[in-house]
Symmetry: C2
Subunit: 360 residues, 2 copies
Amino acid sequence: MKTLNVDLGNRSYPIYIGQQLLTQKALLEPHIASKQVLVVSNDTVAPIYLDRLLATLESYDCYSVVLKDGEQYKSLDTLNQIFDSALSNKLNRQLTIIALGGGVIGDMAGFAASCYQRGVNFIQIPTTLLAQVDSSVGGKTAVNHPLGKNMIGAFYQPRCVLADISTLDTLPERELSAGIAEIIKYGVIRDTTFFEWLENNVGALLARDSNVLSYAIEVSCRNKAEIVEQDEHESGVRALLNFGHTFGHAIETACGYGVWLHGEAVAAGMCMAANLSHRLGWLSYDDKQRIVGLIKRAKLPIEPPVTMSSEQFVDLMAVDKKVEDGKLRLVLLKSLGGAVTTADFDKAIFKQFLSDIDAV
Amino acid sequence: MKTLNVDLGNRSYPIYIGQQLLTQKALLEPHIASKQVLVVSNDTVAPIYLDRLLATLESYDCYSVVLKDGEQYKSLDTLNQIFDSALSNKLNRQLTIIALGGGVIGDMAGFAASCYQRGVNFIQIPTTLLAQVDSSVGGKTAVNHPLGKNMIGAFYQPRCVLADISTLDTLPERELSAGIAEIIKYGVIRDTTFFEWLENNVGALLARDSNVLSYAIEVSCRNKAEIVEQDEHESGVRALLNFGHTFGHAIETACGYGVWLHGEAVAAGMCMAANLSHRLGWLSYDDKQRIVGLIKRAKLPIEPPVTMSSEQFVDLMAVDKKVEDGKLRLVLLKSLGGAVTTADFDKAIFKQFLSDIDAV
């Protein structure tokens, strides 16, 4: 097992990465505040892993709430089911909420933990690759609004993250690829060594080689932790982690939440950002091709849905969290490994870039 | 005008108390983050004061959302109307949300500000006495759940509080008394000099003597600020501010939100807490009588609703935020001015005290 630390002063916490961690009570115990535990999961993950976790926690007063699986249920209404469960079981402020599932479950359970009785203890047990390499780390929690992704939420750090690689054995292939999208992101924005390693190992990742998976998760979490430690509340460098996400969120919202997986939308969004960076004259043709090529090899989409118009992109990106004083800021590439957040790009080229979407 | 400061490090903020502050742009301006402002009000307050505030803010891109008035609308559903408004107007992360109304509006607008795009700027303009002396100060925000008051929320400090005493001219008498309940609370729990002053001035308060009101608001805010500065997140002394509230919240939830005003429920709850403290042998008969007498003179209820049973109290108090490891902790009085939060009281006397409720 590997242990990484996210250093955030009195909100610091460990990330445990390894095999069969779900059964290791000693890892969880120090991070649970009292007897009361509420496990939040979904109807895909719970049938496979919930009993195993409840057995590990049998000495606690352990409750569980099982939500419907899918991004389309990441809403205030579903969030309320967590509160219903907590309150009908009279769970108090010393409660620990544990997320057992993918990014949607982690985001909702974390947001619920941030606001149940104005904040209770929280633990992440991510069971998808995407959640293990990205969403479980860094304390971003949220639900969606029909008019925008992740528009209602909080920064709220977990007490620990337990990434049990064994749970990836049951992950559908589409979800595996979606996770690889966020892994590739770290390489593209800041870690060219890792990018090269991924070019050599994407096949082994898709084949679920456990050593390769473990290394990719570790490097991803280390990259994420380094950024979050510098800028917990995204007033600066943390925005780089949104590479591909402004386009990606627009795709998710336009297609209807859950139609494209988050990682798939980010993959297409990263290709769009790379293409735009190249058209701006910032990124070389070769590097753009390497990025798009790796994403394609990971069995991910490299173009936005044909049904989407440039107008939809403009409209949906206008509520992006990086908009400042009416100006859209994008994460773009000055080079492979060199991402920047900027509103200072040629608007005529950007307009032409978007209108080409309609021409497809 | 008086200015008090709430000292919370980088979350410090001023409280302005005075006449006709709504029209003073210079007070608000330094606390607004960008051009975008969203005023949240209700359908009682907005017809009287919204235009005045919008005129003050005419140089901003100012939007408003008017919610239904009443504690029964302090819910996740109503909260979502704020998000609907913000997103349909494409308001971004540099937005400033301003609460214009009483405690319900302040709690909801504040919670919305804490989670819209994971946190935007927030300003409190309380227009009820209760909000001016209590709920607008200290950063507690929340909505209710059918199973418990204020169960979903956040600690989120405003950038400033603007208490315009002129707005109290239009306050209904019942609401005025409800505000006096929280004023009396400060005297009872920690400030006997203020309690004595209130015994001499409760008539002038009810008559809305502006100097007397101004002084009462100032002393109340100073008391609250001192406590919040010591314990922002209520891990200790701040719980004392909940004197009367554990009983009071049970009353509000049992009767249906909005049937009793919050201040009315707290008034009856304070009498219950004073009575219990006396029966435990902690508070003298005379002091108990002084407390109940002052509350009565403020035209507030001194007993819980006759429809409520002891069982309802036990049931509803079990989800109180002060419950720890299954033990109910209450704010009780060791003396007038000497409140304590404790689970260490004679349970037989408490049981008898509650069963007397059924005997009424």
